[in-house]
Structure formats: C-alpha cells, structure tokens
Amino acid sequence: MLTRRAEPPLDPSILEEAADWLMRLSEHDLTDTERAEWECWKVSSPERSRAWSRAQLLQSKFGGLPPALAMSTLDRPSNPERRAALGKLALLLAAVPTGWGTWKLAQSQQWSADYHTAVGQRRELTLADGSRITLNTDSAIDVLFDTRQRLINLRAGEILVQTAPDSSAQPRPFLVSTREGRMQALGTRFTVRELEPRTQLAVLEGAVQVELADGRQTAPIIVNAGQRTDFSAQAFGQLNPTDSNVGAWTRGMLMADKMRLADFVSELARYRRGFVRCDPAIADLRISGAFPISDTQRSLNMLVQTYPVLVTGHLSGYWVTLSAA
C-alpha cells in the first residue's frame, strides 16, 4: 500500500528531467559530453539530487529481477474495475460526511458475488437456481439474483450459459448484461463474449432476446439456435450461422476451419500469458484442425509440424513470434 512520505513532494518538472535521463541511460551508453552533463545535473540542486536518488532506487528495484519471471507476473491484464473501485475508496475515506448518503444512493449497494478466471483457466459454476455458467480464460462475472431477476453481468471475457427453469412462484427472467447490451434467455444454451466495444453472442439451443445498451431507436431482436451475431451499444451486426468453434472451448479445444493464421494466433493468445505475434507475411495462411487450449505450447508445436511456420521464443517462451519457415 502506498503511504504518504514525510519529505515534501518533488516538482513534476524535476521528475521529468530525471525521467529524461533515465530514458537516455536505458536507450544507449552516454557519450563523454553527456556523462559530464549528467553528473552536473545530478548535483545542480538539492531537489535534483533527491530526484536522482529516487531514480536509483527505481533502477535497483528493476535491476535485480529475473526477467522471465517478472515479465509474466507483472504483465497481467490490468483491471479497470479495480482502478474504479480504488478511486471510490479514496473518495470515501476523504469523505465529506454529508455527501455520503447521496453518493451511496447512486451506487448499486448489493455485494455481488464475483467469479473470475486467470489466463488459461476455465471454471464451471452451478448457480442457486440450477443454471450453469462456464467461464472461459481471463473472464469475470458478477451474479445478482433477487426477487425480480436473475442477472449475470459479464465484465470481461467469455461465458457459456445453460439456463434452468426458475422454480420460484413468480418466474424471474434470466439476463446477461455487457457494456453493449442486455440479453434475455428464452430457455436456452448460449455463449457471450465481451470484446469491448462489441459483444459477441452465439446461440446453441433455444433463443435469446437482445436489447442494446443505447438503443432507443432500435427494437430488440431475437437470435435463434444456430445463429450468432455481434453488437455495439448502438447497432446490431449481421446474423450469421454458428461455426464449429462456438463453445469448443468448453471441451478444451480451439477448432479451426480454414481460419486465417492471424485470427488463430489471436484466439490462441487468449489462453497464454505473454505475447504471440504473427509475421504479417503469413497472416493470411489458412489453417484447419483441433488444437488443445490447455497446452498452447503443444498447439504451436502442432502448427509447426503441419504448416510452413517457424516459431521462435524469447524470455522463456513469454514472447513468441511466428514467421514463414
């Protein structure tokens, strides 16, 4: 946790000067003239000396880290919800007490049940009503069940929903919401993926009614079994037939049917920490097959065996490049 330090804060312009020197130092060796200039800068004022001792502290923190380990630990997708929550926390603790009541009313105060998965992880849940949710890699949902509705808020990633009929006296609708819209299950099995600024929906059984988040001018549509679509907050995309890859992830597979290599790579990268980059020269290569997503290294090896593709890894496999063999 970051705490306030006792010494006075440094002028941002001095921190910028220090940042400039750090950049020069990390980019190339200094010439003799530059080195002299730098030595002079460091001692030219007490603030600059202080700024530079912070720079040294920073360098020492980064310097001692094993690269592969540090890279894969730190380069997790950052979480905007968390940033928002911390912002609110700071606001609350600084609180002007009278503002609190009104602020509180503006928030949804329910403690929601949060479920999430890490990169490469998959998780199956059975909800209180018997409905089942499967979370794909790197996904997060809130579950809000009350007397009026059964609501799943998909914050990130992808889910497969298998709804159960509601047994309560007054059956409640089953809803999935994303930033772009709200889907109501009409007895059904379907997948939803949040790909900000769009949501992808594919219906496997039954039907789903979709209402746009910002769609006062657009009537809700119904997507039937065997159809998929995507939509932004303002408009629906085309209705297309579902393909063999829809829901394949629930069985641990990525199904490619003449899929562009670049698309395949971005799909596979969802299940793997780090970078996978595809040389534009081979981006349009078409590939087919069933690839295991729980073992992305094996999938890459399979690719190399079947197609004229070369896989090079750096930083202990954290950073992978695909190029023409």
């Binding site: 921190l15 950049m23 700024a51 880290l65 380990l69 894969s72 930083l315 202990s316």
Partner: protein
C-alpha cells in the same frame, strides 16, 4: 483553530469507536462468508477499521453500507495481491530449473513485484506494457515500437509517462 481541530479529532475517534463496537462483528461475519476463511476475514476487517481510523471521517450516516464500501475497496486490493501471487507461482512453475531463484530470493522478488505492480497499476495497459518490455525485457525502443505497432515517438512518450509516475511513487 487548533481547538477546533482537536474537537474534530475527538469526534472522529468517537465515530470510529461506535462503528467498531456496533459493526465489527457483522463486518467480520460478512467477510468470512464471502472469503470462506476466518483468518483472512479477521485481517481484512482489521484493515478496514485501520483505514477508516487513518481517515478524517467525522460522521457516518449509514454505517453498514459505508463499511461495506470501504471493505469492498480493500477486498479488491487483496484480490489483486492474490492474483499477483498466483501469476507469480504459475510463472515459477513454468520456469526452466536453472532460472528458478533460491527460496529466500523468491520472497524478495515477490515483494518487489508487488511494489512495482502498485506503481504501474494506474497506467494505461499499453504504457505499462511498453515500460515492462523496456525495463524488464531489455528491448530497445525501436523494437518495442514494432512489437506494439506504434511509432517510436509514442513509445518515448509512454516511457516518459511511466518513469515520471514511478519516480513519483517509488519508496
């Protein structure tokens, strides 16, 4: 001036005291239910009150809703720490044997990673990634520009933004 400050402070302490005696048990039980773990729940409940104690709050209208909110923020932080630890253990497990640090060093590295994670937390994802590629991956700015598909000027701007933020927060 100083009198009113101290009166404010007394008031603050009274509010916290009432909050603690009236609702600590409830907060602990709520957290325990949510986390399924008594020890973590006790720690987090304590942390919540410590944070409120350190703040300047002098009146709280709806104590439980307020506590829930503060606790939720702390919980999010805690999840972040857990997520980092999981990612770390996972990365350790995938590391080739010669690169695995000694047990003592493993803890030191984890603590440093926590600090760095907190410093970089509020940066936009691309800025953070460019910075990590440079400072940890050892990549040149030109290579980072190619990796991220942005211009060299943009990478330099990202680097400066990240360095200034780190210099502001490092301790």
């Amino acid at each position: 001036m100083s009198e009113s400050l101290s009166a404010n402070n007394d008031n603050h302490l009274r509010v916290i005291e009432a909050l603690y005696s009236g609702h600590h048990g409830w907060l602990y039980a709520t957290l325990k239910k949510k986390l399924g773990n008594a020890m973590d729940a006790a720690d987090l409940a304590q942390d919540t009150f410590t944070r409120i104690l350190a703040s300047q709050v002098t009146a709280i209208e709806q104590p439980r809703a307020y506590l829930s909110c503060v606790a939720k923020g702390i919980l999010v932080n805690w999840y972040q720490r857990k997520a980092l630890e999981r990612a770390y253990l996972d990365a350790l497990a995938h590391l080739p044997a010669p690169e695995v640090p000694s047990p003592e060093l493993r803890f030191v590295v984890l603590e440093t990673l926590h600090e760095i994670d907190a410093m970089l937390d509020t940066l936009p994802p691309l800025v953070k990634r460019a910075f990590l590629l440079s400072q940890i991956g050892g990549l040149k700015y030109q290579d980072i520009a190619e990796q991220l598909d942005v211009s060299l000027i943009t990478v330099k701007r990202y680097m400066k933004q990240a360095f200034v933020q780190c210099l502001m927060l490092v301790e």
